[in-house]
């Protein structure tokens, strides 16, 4: 199965985010929703942790390869928030390549429910969540390219939403097994709730 392109271009992705920055404080605890709605992606994974664990290894990039338009994850599997955090990467501020030089767009950092530009160092410093990886993959889609001003070329994905959800359910089951083996009890509990929610959603799609 080829990975379909996000329906929106990168300028459209950031236009959406800028609208949310200027908009009402509606994004409390909705980091994944914010990150996936900006490029126009459908809801698939119930939490940032589930989406993070489902990201193909080949699409996970270190800090030095982070680019504008990618998303990035911050997580400590043993802290009080087992569901991780996802942000959109706005790009680099200057020539450095540390977390202080990388600017993100995030909810809940500066204003509860608000969306703001903050440096990537915010999350390990204030939330205790280290940078995990950057990626140009989200919810089974390619995020908008870096020099794409035209509409992305459509690419075929899975045939139905139901098949997408089946794949996501398999991803979460594998993640639960991995976290159980690693002793991440809070993550196992959180992802089990994600799995139950996703299986309920799956019932709404006959195919």
């Amino acid at each position: 199965v080829s990975t379909p392109n996000a329906p929106r271009t990168r300028p459209e992705q950031f236009a959406f985010l800028r609208e949310q920055i200027a908009g009402p404080l509606d994004w409390e605890a909705l980091c994944l929703s914010l990150a996936r709605q900006a490029p126009g992606l459908p809801a698939i994974y119930p939490s940032a942790k589930a989406a993070m664990d489902a990201t193909p290894l080949s699409r996970r990039y270190p800090l030095s390869q982070a680019r504008r338009g990618m998303v990035a994850y911050f997580d400590d599997p043993n802290d009080s928030n087992p569901l991780a955090h996802i942000v959109t990467l706005a790009g680099w501020d200057g020539a450095g390549r540390t977390l202080d030089d990388l600017v993100t767009v995030t909810n809940d950092a500066k204003r509860r429910g608000g969306v703001d530009y903050v440096r990537a160092s915010f999350f390990p410093t204030h939330w205790g969540d280290p940078f995990k990886f950057a990626t140009d993959w989200l919810n089974g889609y390619d995020l908008p390219g870096y020099d794409v001003d035209a509409k992305p070329t459509p690419a075929p994905g899975r045939e139905t939403i139901g098949k997408n959800l089946d794949h996501a359910i398999g991803d979460i089951r594998r993640a639960i097994r991995n976290h159980r083996a690693a002793g991440h009890r809070a993550v196992v509990k959180a992802l089990s709730a994600d799995l139950a929610a996703l299986m309920e959603t799956r019932k709404r799609f006959p195919k």
């Binding site: 950031f14 809801a43 928030n81 790009g91 680099w92 500066k110």
Partner: protein, 49 residues
């Protein structure tokens, strides 16, 4: 808006695709200007379907 005024509008995308555009960088909130964030820990990061 005249054509000349249109030309003066900032390009929403940076010339260097890695860099944050200047108009977005102007919105960056640095930590020394931030409020305390007692709510930051323990938030579920859910995404309703």
């Amino acid at each position: 808006m005249t054509k000349d005024q249109t030309r003066q509008q900032p390009d929403p995308e940076p010339v260097d695709p890695d860099q944050v555009p200047a108009d977005e960088l102007a919105l960056l909130v640095d930590d020394d200007h931030a409020e305390d964030r007692p709510y930051a820990e323990g938030l579920p990061q859910e995404d309703g379907l």
